[in-house]
Structure formats: structure tokens, C-alpha cells
Symmetry: none
Subunit: 197 residues, 4 copies
DNA sequence: TATGAATGAGTCTTCATTCAT
DNA sequence: AATGAATGAAGACTCATTCAT
């Protein structure tokens, strides 16, 4: 637990391992990525891995955590604090899609293994859900989203849509400019939130 | 390659292994399910597994395929052939959510492995995409969905939404009657498809 | 042990298994030939194997024995009883080479696994050695082969040469008419037996 | 592919495994030697085997190759460069018999597997054949071996004789001083090469 | 820090053999 | 006679993790 002190070079080496791991995890999945692979990719001996990480799981956790922080930051930065809630939802959504596209490797991670590691992956996700739920409620209060549906469920829908389209983009199943896709998803989400027939 | 000839008893035993595997896979994931576990669950010797399947992967493939067929059937059955395309999309969506709830185990499975085994899981998914894309196009032609967006991308969005809410339901993050959820998803999807602001 | 009574069809079936086994053994070796392979080649179910043979080893033994009998017969037939011993040695040698060429598959068997199954393979070989040793002694007595060398060792040399050239022929390392090869080996052996410098 | 870097200790350990394997292979045969046995004999854990070898087959190949080099060296050392070709053939033959006696274990090995793994065992053998063929041709040119027979076939005969008598010696079927046996084989081979009647 | 060596529990897979029908 | 099903002991191979240097 006690965060190790690393020299400058050590920090660099650790980052290197993290990056290689992210790349490999997102390419072949957690289970199919061996520690030996990670080390080989980083060009270091297998034993060194354990100098920087307690074990595989811990490395994975670090990866997930760091990515989540960055995503949240990206979302916050994209939202115009003076805009209405629905607009901010759309802005956050678009920012997320772009962020996911930009960090494709990192993001695949979230999808990967979310089943096997529910606590780890789930716990941070709650923060997201709360963020979004708050915005949905606000938008409802402002009358921008019709009442009657569960705000949390709607928020989950938003998050899911972002993740899904991010996945599609990542796996290359759609050849579309990233800005266009972001706009598309924004529209999709807003439509889903508002369009009750 | 040459499909083995199985007696009635053999077919039964195979089904049994398939079922046990599905149960275990969905409970603890593909990687954490040992062939020995599957056999133990079925109450047969380890070696017998290989009488019916080349290996774990092949068993998994059979599982995926069979499930896909059933889902498609459920969707088709739920659609009123005389209704308009958008309605049919909504019906198919609702039926899918319900089907997924009913076969939660099977679907958790798909989800878990969709990353590690993209080819396997993805290949048959195209059929679904095509089905939906066709309906979206029809609905566009009928003027029920505004023009201008890529029908296939919209179809992928529908499928994603179904999968995502199915996942939410499965993981118990929402305490809602399944019929209500299905209706919710139907509405969500229709909103997303039609509500362009 | 008690030889089973087989119907006419049964005898045929057994022969069939024997033949397939011989072919497979000589192609891929004893260890790499599975009972399942033999049955598949014969087009029967695996279980049937044990109706005809106690086990793999017994089948192998039957094969070896039958082949040895036939070889001995071929040698005897080739020898002119009125000829001198050296001539008969040459005749036997030539007949052996031809026999081995004709029954390539069977013969590979002898080489195969002679290490793992020394008793089985060795015991019959002694008969051969005795046959040949007798002839060598006779030839020595007749003054056709110089004295001074161990007759049994010479006999073993003859047998070895036959086996070796048979092997070469079988493995296709020499493109030569079989009669020519037989003559070559006959000459080779006679030279080795007589030519002391 | 990329040959692993080994420390001095590592090289030593590898050699140790190689030696243990050779011993076991020649005692009980390739198929009946388990990797676990090899490791047990070397007093190391099972897993370590795979640090040094990809698998059993590769270890075997290394064994074969190294042995072949040594044999060739022994032959070359035994030949008097000023002697005529036939003499050199005889010298090489005698050296081979002695070498094989000295490394009986290694050679039993070769023999056992020459059938199951013809490619592996056979491929390097060509070098030997070429060596001998060259000498035979030379001897023919010098008029020491009568013309008319295929030099390569004769060379193969020489090699076969050496192998065969080596085998006999190894299996203890002849109680003879090794020097005497070597001389015997030398004579046998020279007789076979020269004595055309 | 860094390396290469070493461990060993865990899994898959094979296959001769037996069984029920 | 014949089949397909079933068994289970082996054995190969993997890989996270630890160790000595």
C-alpha cells in the first residue's frame, strides 16, 4: 500500500510498463496478457515487474484509476458552467466520446473484465453515474427532460451509449470523423433523454 | 469437421454439458471455468468433454451461436408484421430486453467474452445489425425517422442500448419490473432514433 | 491367449485392422499411432478393436510374428537346396531385400520399437540369426568364407545389411530397380563375408 | 527463435538437463521419458525445463545435433590425411564404432527415434553421407574400389554397417573387445566395398 | 534497480481401455 | 459383432510469483 519512492528513472520505467500493459490489455484482454508479455514489450526482465507492482491485479487497478481521473477531468473541462444541464450533459457526452477515441487503448480496459472485477471497475463507475444523475435531475428540474422516468436509469443510459459508441469507434466498425461521431452521440443521447412519445 | 454422429443419449449429454458450461461461464467467467468444473457439474469424467467438443473454445462458440438463433427468433416473433417499421423496432427491442432478462446467464456470457474473442462473438452479430439496419431504413423511408444520419450507426445504437440495459438489469443495478424496463428501453430507443434537436 | 473363434466376416475384419495398423505403424511409428486411428482407418468404432485384440501390444506382436513367418518362407523358397552355402546366403539375402521391398509397411515395423520391445522383437530375430549363422558356418566349412572371424557376428552383419538397405529403399533414398538393389546387396554381403584384406 | 541469453550458471543448468535427458532417453526411450523425470533427475522443478527448451522435441534435437558434431570430429581426427581414401574410410569406420561404443547412450537414442522423427534425425545425416560418398569416389578414382556401383549407395552401406554393429555392441549381443570389434567392422566394410565377385 | 533463474500449482488434452446397449 | 459413451490416469505446458545475485 505504502506508495514506493521511485527515482526519476524508476517513475519513467513504471510509466513504460503501464503503457505497454494498457496496449496489450486492450489488444488481447486481461487474461490473455501475460506479465512476461508486458515485460517483453517494455524490454525488461520479468522479475522487474514486481519491483513496480505487487501483482497483475494492482497494475490493472492503477490503469483503471488513472484513466478514470483523466476522463472525469476531460468531461469537467468540456462543460460550460453557465449552460443549462441538458447542454452540459451533451457537452460531457461529446467530450467523453472524444476522450475515448483518443485513448482507445485505455478505454478498452474498462470494458474488459468488468465482469470479473466488479468491485474494482464498478466502484469508480458509481462516481460517474452520480455525476450524470445529478445533471439529469437538474435538467428535469429545469423542464428540459420530461418527468416520470428514473433519473439514474437515464444517466446509466447515457453512460452506456457513450461506452458503446466508443467501442464501435475503437473497433473500427464505423468510418466516421471523430467530431462527427461525438456530435452524433450527443444528439442520440439528447434524443433519448427528451424524446418521449 | 465431420460432425460426429450422436445417439439420443449422446445428444442429451452434450446439451447437458452445454448447459452446465453456460451456467458456469456466466457465473465465474470463461477463463475461470475449468473444463474439469464443467464435467464435475455434469457429473461425468473429464475425458468425456472431448468426446463432444474439440476444446473449450468450440463449446463456447456453440453456445454463442445457439443463443443468437434464439434471440433472433424471439425478436421475429414479437414483431407485428402489419405494423410500421418503427413500431417493429420498438417491439423487437422490448422483446430483446425480455429475452435477455430471461436468459441472463447466456447473455452475461456473451458480454464477458466479447472483448477477448471479438471474432467469434462479433461475426454472427452482423446478422443482427443487418436486421436492425433494414428496419431503420424502412422507417426512414416511411418518414418515421428523420433522414440524414447513418442507418447502420443508428442500428448499432439500438443494439447497444439493448445490450447495455440488459447488462444493467442483469447486474441488478436497477430494481424495476422487467416489463417496465423493456418499455423504458423501447421508449429510449425510439426517442434516440427520432428525436433530433 | 485362447485364440478366439471368429466368423468368416470376423476374420476378414481382423485382417483389415491388422493391415491398417501395419500401414499406420510403418508410417508414423508405434507410439504415434492411436487405436482410434487404426479404427478410423478401418472404418469401425473404437470399441470394436478390443473384440479382436486384447490390446495394442498384442496387435503389434501378431503383426511382427506373421511378418517374420512370411519372410522366412520367402527366404527358404529362394534358396536352391543343391547350391553351396555361400550361394544360398546370397539367394536368401536377395530374397529378403525383395520381400522387404514388397512389404515395406510390414518391415518398417521391425525397426520400429525394437528398442522398446526387445523381448518381442528380439526373440524371433534369434531364429533368423541362427539360420544365417548355420549357413555361414557351412560356408566356412566349405572354404568359401575365410576362417577366423566369429560366424555369428558375420551372420548378424548380413542381417543388418539387409535391414539397412531395405530401410533405405523403403524411405526412397535410392531410386533403383528392386532387382538391381537386391543384387547389389547380395554382392555387398558376399564381399563383406569373403573379402578379408 | 532469438536464442536466450544465459548466464554461466544457466549454461551449466542447461547442459545438466541435456545430460539427464540423454541418459533417460537412452535408458527408457524418448516416449517413456517424462519431462518431469528429466527435471527430477536434474533436481529442479518441472517448470524450469521450459526456461531452457521450448519442448521435449527441441531438447531432443539439440541432443542429436551436438552428438553428430562430435562424431564427425572423432572421424576426422582418426583419419590420417596422408593415407589413401580406402584407408581413411576404414579409419573413419573404426573411429565411429569406438565413438559409438563410448557414447552408447547417445546412440541408442538416435536409433530409437530415427523412425518416429525421420526428418529431425535424418536431416543432419546427409552430411555424413556426403563425407563418406566423397571418400568412396576418391577411392574409386584411385582404383581401390572397383567401378560400376553407385558411390552413394556404397557410402550408405558403410554408414549402415557402422550403425548396425554399433547397435549389436550396445545391446551386448557380442562379447568382444571394442578394439577388436572396430577392426572387424573395418574389415567388413572394406570387404564389402572392394570384394566384387 | 535489474536480471535471469527457479518454483509449483493449475489446466488442458490425450488415449488406452472398459462398459452398456 | 458392433457401436457410441464413458473413464481416468498420465503427461505436456503455462504462468504468476519469488529468489539469489
Amino acid at each position: 500500500m505504502a506508495a514506493k519512492r521511485h527515482t526519476e528513472q524508476g517513475v519513467e520505467r513504471k510509466r513504460q510498463l503501464l503503457d505497454c500493459a494498457a496496449e496489450l490489455f486492450s489488444t488481447r484482454g486481461y487474461a490473455d496478457t501475460r506479465i512476461a508479455d508486458i515485460c517483453a514489450a517494455a524490454g525488461v526482465a520479468k522479475g522487474l515487474f514486481y519491483w513496480y507492482f505487487e501483482n497483475k491485479e494492482v497494475l490493472f487497478a492503477e490503469l483503471v484509476t488513472s484513466m478514470r481521473h483523466r476522463l472525469r477531468k476531460a468531461q469537467a473541462d468540456a462543460m460550460d458552467p453557465t449552460a443549462d444541464a441538458l447542454t452540459r450533459l451533451r457537452q460531457g457526452t461529446e467530450a467523453s466520446v472524444q476522450f475515448m477515441a483518443r485513448h482507445a487503448g485505455y478505454f478498452a480496459l474498462l470494458e474488459v473484465e468488468s465482469h470479473d472485477r466488479p468491485v474494482l471497475v464498478g466502484q469508480g463507475a458509481d462516481v460517474h453515474t452520480e455525476d450524470s444523475t445529478r445533471l439529469v435531475k437538474e435538467a428535469m428540474a429545469e423542464g428540459l427532460i420530461p418527468d416520470g422516468r428514473d433519473p439514474e436509469l437515464l444517466a446509466l443510459g447515457v453512460i452506456g451509449a457513450v461506452a458503446h459508441f466508443g467501442h464501435i469507434q475503437r473497433t473500427g466498425r464505423v468510418a466516421m470523423d471523430i467530431d462527427d461521431l461525438a456530435a452524433f452521440v450527443g444528439t442520440w443521447v439528447v434524443g433519448a433523454l427528451t424524446g418521449v412519445r
